[in-house]
Amino acid sequence: MPSQPFADRFLQEYGITHPSEIDLEAIAYDKGAYVRYRLLDGCEARIVGKGNQAIISIDPRPIPTRKRFSLAHELAHWLLDRGSIGFLCKQSDIGARGAVGNSAEAAANALAAQLLMPGYLFKPLSRKKPLTFDTVSELSKLFRTSNTTTVLRLVEIGDYPGMVVCFGPNGRQWFHRGQDVPEEFWPIRDLDEDSQAFELLYGGDHATRPKKIGAEAWIDRRDAHQYTLTEHSIMIADDVVLTLLWWQDEKQIRDFNS
């Protein structure tokens, strides 16, 4: 039996059996880290620690899901580097799509996502749920997380193969594959005119429903025209579209793997 991730074991020690019980401030306090909400100009969140005690400062101005992620991020720093520590974390450091690589910020982001959406709670609640933004919205309300943070977790540990792709006016900004999607499957760099994402970004349509689309509109592979996938796109900023691709019919993946 594979060992449970650290965040799962850690939260289970507090008897947490529902997302609403993830009281990060109380958990931080129990671990010696006191949380203060105060205006910060040079960073979005900060932690200073000495021995077993730390003070976490969070800028109160961002939206609640953002503040919650910042708190999870600083708590993660504390759990990872307890002792004499100090981090001034900028906006670009914090977030599910924040710092990447092997930096301390990337490690804190990864642990933060797991503390906010521990697998042992997230998996049962997302089981057999379609890979759409309706599911993302439902889960993000339960876990008090942003759409972007939630969709990344859903693709990462959800039941179905999927991919998240973010497009802005200059083309593809970033993407993230679920673990069941082959690494050889790359999303296109420029939006296909038939896609919902194109319609949202350039046509001004703001309400979309999940729809079946030829895989060639999204996946850069020669045989993609033989397959379909389900696309659901939403606007996450004035000129940024987030798309969730769901291999509802897994034939393309099965054929590739066979």
Partner: protein, 142 residues
């Protein structure tokens, strides 16, 4: 001297006998007996396990509940702290001196504070507060 055994001794003997009997029985015998008394053995085991898990979860939840209570009490008390009578310039100097002396604080914080990188006056004051509350100035500099 009476030959009568004490009730406790009798009970101990009975427990010992029952344990020996249970240990000597095969798994199939135990399941058959449990089924005869409690119905489906698997269901009964699941119920017992669920009860045990619920008790453990309740005990653990208490820890979180108590942490929340202590935090709320600490938050209420914090507002009554006396204000530190220092000028901003003094606070900056104390923080910078501390960071020069301490090599165990991460470079990132040290660099940002030394260069004053985007730090507003409020940032300096709150950083001083935090360092002070954590006892970094307990050497008499506070």
């Amino acid at each position: 001297m009476s030959n009568q055994k004490s009730p406790k001794k009798t009970l101990d003997n009975l427990v010992e006998l029952l344990c020996d009997e249970a240990m000597a029985a095969s798994d199939a015998d135990i399941v058959a007996e449990a089924t005869a008394y409690h119905g489906d053995a698997k269901t009964h085991v699941s119920k017992l396990r669920a009860m045990a898990e619920e008790r453990i979860a309740m005990h653990r939840k208490k820890r979180l509940f108590e942490a929340r209570q202590k935090l709320d009490a600490a938050s209420s008390a914090e507002g009554s702290n006396a204000l530190v009578n220092r000028t901003l310039s003094e606070m900056k100097d104390l923080v910078l001196n501390l960071l020069k002396k301490r090599d165990d604080l991460p470079q990132r914080l040290t660099m940002a504070a030394r260069s004053g990188e985007s730090m507003s006056d409020e940032d300096w004051a709150s950083l001083y507060d935090d360092l002070s509350d954590l006892g970094f100035f307990d050497g008499g500099e506070k």
